[in-house]
Symmetry: D3
Subunit: 236 residues, 6 copies
């Protein structure tokens, strides 16, 4: 029934390749099927003004899509003169989600910026960005721990997956063909221990019931659990 | 236990005054306690390019805060040269939510723009904007029906309320004092018949469990039910 | 002869309601007939760089119109990415006019920002902003005097009215119907003691003679005198 | 008493050199003492959307200052990313003033753009721009009349001069040394026949009385009369 | 003598992988040592206004760097609100250079946009962008030829290499370590037949003689010849 | 054969008038035939952040064109909201070229900004800007030397000329008629002693051979030599 032939509760194949750029303190290329996102972590001693002097760390994120990461070419945001509303919304979500897995006291007064750049898009780029972004973050923090700059590990795994109602059925990990037709679309960000960080469910044409909402949550919990395994395997 | 002395499941007093500006096709001033939002509906025959020729209607929304609607003065976005990320995120949510209560075929190829301007802010401005915005939309559509431009009513009630976990307890309709301290913050947009349109729950410092999520949903359902009564009463 | 049926030298009814928002140090809603402007005063210890260290106070103003304050919806300036030329011109005038009624030494090194936001427009919004803005300023300064932060009252009343030549006749306080047809349009800002602060007369289609200019000045002096009474009554 | 040694009612020496650029349909370099402004007129068949199809002509103006036209270098507005409030205010005034001397029916549906660029500034640049701008306009219209594109002359002379109260005395044509110290500053735009187009008087530190206002008007009338002679002589 | 241990006339190892994104009509990832650029070609029927109706084709280019493609993180241009001067200069060069290898009549009235996004930078990104951009262009044109949309091949190979004077010696293909220390830096864009398209030599600290200029040209000719081999091999 | 009737190796007549504005520390109006550029030098003690504390001087440049300096009116960049790509490219070239003639140690920690504003354009404005800009720079530095602020002269002459291939022939100093038809267009910036600072040759429709490149270089060397004579004569 799904365009890709997957079962309702099947995720796309996940691959996370680390160390893909030589400059960044942490980096990976995450592939969720045909969705490919390059995630890098930049470590700086400089923190934003509102954190200065607090002794707390800060994690923030930026998101972008290459102009031809999509089926038809999108205008480059640098040319348009500003980031679009969708971009701003997504990068705020990535930053907020990753911070929920960070012990900011243990991180200490430093900033880590996660850049998520979509090389190829096929649905679910924001979730892939969070999942891959956490890997880049993990690798950068590992460096801090190796040098002794940090003694207590400040990180708990954070991963994200989309679920939605496609052709009347709850499905896990929507690709573009499904996403563009789905009646309900949700993003679920969870910690490795199953605690919820952010839940966003949104009607796109069809509304949904509490019962449907619960089924999507069940799918999401199973999906994130697999993603956390992939993250930990990639960081070994 | 709540700063305002309200019970956990108490909403603030709601007041919706209609017809507050002479130019708009529909308007109201909604007050959720000390949060005051002016909502206007503008009816136009012109539709956006992506709708043109489809025969379908379009509902969109814009959101703003007066500079001194808040405790300390905010910079005017027109001076800053752009709408901030939070503003863009909110106005996209308002538009999306209201459209979920509109039969776009019945509305016909015309556009209604809902402007939500916060006169005074005390938490929950996006939810008040949706609830008040629907009233402005209702009044504008009423005009279309009176003149016979529309024969089938295209509208179902849509209302929104915030819930969150404050001091460890699930509470309904957070005011600013609670919102700024809440560990979890959620916005729930529902139709009058109880169907869900959008659910956003977000950890702010504390994560949350599925059990807590369900308690917030219960509060939200009760809250929206009261708000829909207030909307219908105001539009009589 | 006037669309509203007023006599040539009749002003619209004036109402000034104070204390309309809980956050601002001073606030009022001024109504000149159907023109409604919300004015707030924000008090800050921080002054602009060019005043710093001088011991002098500073008063500045910003002006905006809600998108549907007018007959047809105007584009939101925050969306357009900048304040239009008309907006900039008006807010510079408001700030300049109010400063002419302030003893900046007596005010001391602090800044008061007056925000004038047009809720509903029917001509004469800049004059209503100045008249209402002064009331907000007065109320904020009263607070400073009550707490003893200021000992000498730094304020003299300032008010503004428009006059113009409509259908060949000099008339006081143009509403939108007149303003859009007037051959000559003028704004007159005076102090309570009758001294002139700013005079702007502008041909819109017809030029004017010195004799006509004098007649407009006579009307303006009478109008401002009534406005100052209304200001003082509102601040009691 | 005046820094330049001029009498109270003396204007600076005026020089208007025409034909200073080979591309423009009309051009002049106007010098009011040390204030030098290059004015060009561009003739186009294309008119703005709000004029299209009306059969009426349009005259508009833009204003700029070279970065080092002033005592200390100003930031280039193209670098700053927008025209400042003062620039916008001035160019709107120039356009409005020149239009008051144009019979738009006789001009026919075409647009003339007047560019006024300040090469060297020493006070009174907006008045010099209007006076010089009219000369450029005159020369461009002359071309239209020579080719027979226009049969009725659409132009009446328009000129502008500043007056102010300096050291307590009304003076004509303020230079920078006076302008920066003046208590009251006014710009007076008149037609060649003495009719008023725009009067702007503004308190800068000191307010003014109606009697003073009248004295400034007297000076302005005399000044403009001389400027119109210079304009006509230059266009011969 | 060179930081990389290369001989003066050695280029870095070149690799060109094609077909790296599924959406673009042509794509490659070019690696010049540690400089990695993703190049995509987008084919559109729509042409810019200045080409419309001419029957001629158009090739244009855009360039960007991922924020952490460099040693320290660069600000994202979309956040800065505009493309920097360097970016604009480079993308104009890429477009101009590629057009010099295109028979625009044979291409027909269609547009091809080449996007060059730097994934990892180690000097010479503009030259790599041109060389890789041509490959993407070649692949997109191949599609047009396969479908019969184009009958005559409009393309001639175009490639680019940098040369400079490092530690007093002319060297080929500067990497970042050399580029940042070079006294003279040049970019040489040639056609496959040896004709020159663009030569840019620029003193950075040291000026240069005609004799040195000729030596750089010799190196460039040899380098481009190797690059053209690599391009042709990749497109087979 | 050339539209102007000049010989292939003839430059246009050059005139450099100094001291043309009273405010700038150095200024000239350079005329290369009908190309007229006003160049001013502004001397400041303030240096950019990246130079601060280094003891080194800084020379930078900005470039602009008056809207009607060209055959048809160009949009004012301040109105467009940003400097175009061509402007940015040119002003970076001017600054880079002039710095190649400056001993930054001898200049000492101060900044000189060269503004080049094109009054009338007829081809070759960037070269005229460099040649005239150097004269303004020279005059400003002379002031520093007269006051003893600088003891060692930090300047070597820098001048620029364009050459190109027009109607198949290498020609010196292209005017607009030639520039718009030239197959190859080059800009050559040299020091007074013949050392090369920057060479840019660009195919515009036709490519070029090394032999042609050498002929253009020969013309450029001869042209710059004459320009340096004119610069030195003007600065006496």
């Amino acid at each position: 029934m799904r365009p890709s032939g997957r079962d309702l509760s099947d995720m796309r194949s996940v691959s996370i390749e680390t160390g893909v750029t030589k400059h960044a303190e942490g980096s990976c290329l995450i592939k969720m099927g045909d969705t490919h996102v390059l995630c890098t972590a930049t470590l700086e001693d400089r923190v934003p003004p509102f954190v200065k002097g607090s002794g707390l760390g800060w994690v923030t994120a930026e998101y972008g899509m290459l102009p031809r990461s999509t089926g038809s070419r999108m205008r480059r945001e640098a040319t348009a003169g500003k980031q679009g509303g969708r971009t701003v919304e997504i990068q705020r979500l990535i930053g907020r989600s990753l911070r929920a897995g960070v012990d900011r006291v243990a991180l200490g007064e430093r900033q880590i910026t996660i850049d998520c750049d979509v090389i190829q898009a096929d649905g679910g780029t924001r979730c892939a960005s969070i999942t891959g972004g956490w890997v880049a973050l993990r690798l950068a923090v590992n460096k801090l721990m190796k040098t002794g700059a940090i003694s207590t590990d400040p990180l708990t795994p954070v991963a994200a997956v989309s679920c939605g109602i496609y052709a009347g059925q709850p499905v896990l990990d929507l690709d573009y063909a499904e996403d563009s037709e789905a009646g309900v679309d949700g993003n679920f960000i969870l910690r490795g221990d199953g605690q919820l960080i952010e839940v966003q469910m949104s009607a796109e044409g069809a509304t949904f019931s509490r019962d449907q909402m619960n089924k999507l949550m069940d799918l999401a919990e199973a999906g994130v659990s697999q993603l956390v395994q992939a993250q930990l395997a990639a960081c070994k």
